[in-house]
């Protein structure tokens, strides 16, 4: 498994960066947050699509799903995320629909 060297070559395939054009909402920005252990709601702008890993010339594994889990553990979450987790716990359905 290779680590991210922060070359930034994956930015333009990130759907969030494409719209916001902000380095802190790009795979490299998220990696810097990870390395510095900075947990913030901004990380929820990562769609976890995995495009960045697909185009990475160094085949880096970025571990954004695990970082999302850590954010939750640290109590950094969004209202919609909290609601989704609640719904899943109660009904097993992210939207809260029960059979």
């Amino acid at each position: 498994m290779s680590k991210c060297i922060e070359c930034g070559l994956c930015k333009e395939v990130c759907p969030s960066f494409k719209i916001l054009r902000r380095e802190s909402v790009s795979p490299r920005g998220f990696v810097i947050m990870q390395k510095k252990e900075v947990y913030d709601k901004i990380f929820y702008l990562c769609t976890l699509c995995g495009n960045c890993e697909k185009v990475c010339p160094y085949e880096a594994k970025l571990g954004f799903l695990e970082f999302r889990e850590k954010c939750v553990d640290e109590g950094i979450t969004t209202n919609s995320n909290t609601k989704t987790i609640e719904n899943l716990k109660k009904t097993g359905n992210p939207y809260g629909f029960s059979d």
Binding site: S2, I5, E6, C7, G8, L9, C10, K11, E12, V13, R21, R22, E23, S24, R28, G29, I32, M33, K36, V38, D40, I42, V55, P57, Y58, E59
Partner: protein
């Protein structure tokens, strides 16, 4: 007037996260960003320079942030992220006018038959403004540098003056690494994708037999470029462990003429670059060596088991060193001793200021004093 009032909510940030993320680029240096702004037009750039002058802030202009020399690392600076100035302003038959933050690959996908022919290894993300500021060369070296295609630039200089410039004055902002002005718009010449050229690949057991062959090719009109991989670099590319040269011919004298095969050949450098970086060759250099000293220089590298590739017509070679190796310093000393240049393609940024010498240094000083006397732009970069 504050930065927030100039740029509005979405165009300014001094949040901890933005300051952290913008404190670095693709290299290993880290600085301190005071705030980040995302300009949308020239009016905002003009107001920004005025603000920086009054408040004695310095500005770091940032394109894709792929510099390895600390080109966009801040020193208690305001980062000017040009990413949102990415519009195409005009497309003509053989030219295009774009905002500086436009991304090269996106433009070329959109352009069709006539394109911007310079394709550096970071083509998927690099911005036109960044390319022009670095006067970058592409992987296909016979195309020259991006500066050869610049027809004009619109800039805001370090005094806050907005100028629409044609050549030759436009060149005062090409390759100056953003130290003389903020490039807002660029007019670029487009060229046809269709080409009349071919390639041949040769391999050699020894460096001396390779250099003999290179000498025979050198200076011939039909030779457009000679790309070289030593035995170590060749092995990394999956070739036989021998020295290889890839010779580009004008016309059909070369063996390889198929367009797809030529594309594959042109991607060798990109493939090798990523393989090297993946194998922890974190220090890839770019000395320019005089032709009569090249053989001796390559022998020196081989003796030290340093993989190297490069362009023998241009004299630009890329020795590749492992992270934390002390050999680059030894090589820099050698290059100084033989009176060649230590930097030719990757810029000076923060890390390689000491490499700017002679006429180039004098020219830079004159332009800096003319366009940015208060040293507001990319402070501490290129030279002191």
């Amino acid at each position: 007037m504050t930065l927030r009032s100039i740029f509005g909510e979405g165009g300014f940030s001094d949040s901890e996260i933005d300051r952290l993320v913008y404190s670095r680029d693709a290299g290993d240096l880290e600085g301190e960003a005071m705030a980040v702004v995302w300009p949308k037009d020239v009016k905002q750039l003009h107001a920004l320079v005025g603000y920086a002058k009054r408040q004695d802030y310095n500005l770091v202009i940032r394109g894709a942030g792929t510099s390895l020399q600390g080109g966009c690392v801040p020193v208690k600076s305001i980062i000017v992220d040009m990413s949102k100035m990415n519009k195409v302003l005009e497309i003509g038959d053989d030219f295009i006018v774009v905002q500086a933050g436009a991304v090269l690959d996106e433009l070329n996908h959109r352009l069709g038959d006539k394109i911007i022919p310079i394709k550096p290894f970071n083509h998927a993300v690099c911005t036109i403004g960044g390319m022009v500021a670095m006067n970058c060369r592409g992987m296909d070296v016979s195309k020259g540098r991006i500066g050869d295609y610049v027809m004009g630039v619109d800039v805001v200089d370090g005094t806050g003056k907005y100028m629409k410039l044609k050549n030759p004055t436009a060149k005062n902002f090409v390759g100056l690494e953003g130290t003389t002005g903020i490039i807002a718009h660029v007019k670029l010449k487009l060229v046809s994708k269709k080409e009349y050229r071919s390639f041949s690949i040769y391999n050699f057991n020894t460096l001396s037999s390779m250099m003999e062959k290179v000498e025979k090719f050198r200076g011939k009109e039909e030779i457009k470029s000679i790309l070289f991989f030593d035995d170590l670099a060749s092995a990394m590319l999956g070739f036989e462990e021998k020295n290889h040269i890839v010779v580009e011919f004008l016309g059909d004298k070369g063996v390889i003429k198929d367009v797809k095969e030529i594309e594959r050949i042109l991607s060798f450098k990109e493939v090798l670059y990523h393989k090297l970086r993946k194998s922890r060759f974190g220090q890839i250099e770019d000395p320019k060596i005089d032709s009569d000293k090249m053989a001796g220089f390559l022998y020196w590298l081989r003796k030290k088991s340093v993989p190297v590739y490069g362009h023998l017509c241009l004299g630009v070679v890329h020795p590749c060193f492992k992270e934390f190796s002390k050999l680059p310093t030894e090589m820099h000393e050698l290059v100084e001793t033989i009176k060649c240049e230590n930097a030719s393609d990757f810029g000076y940024g923060f890390k390689r200021k000491s490499f700017l010498k002679g006429e180039k240094k004098v020219k830079h000083k004159i332009l800096k004093e003319q366009y940015d006397p208060k040293d507001l732009l990319n402070r501490g970069k290129v030279h002191e």
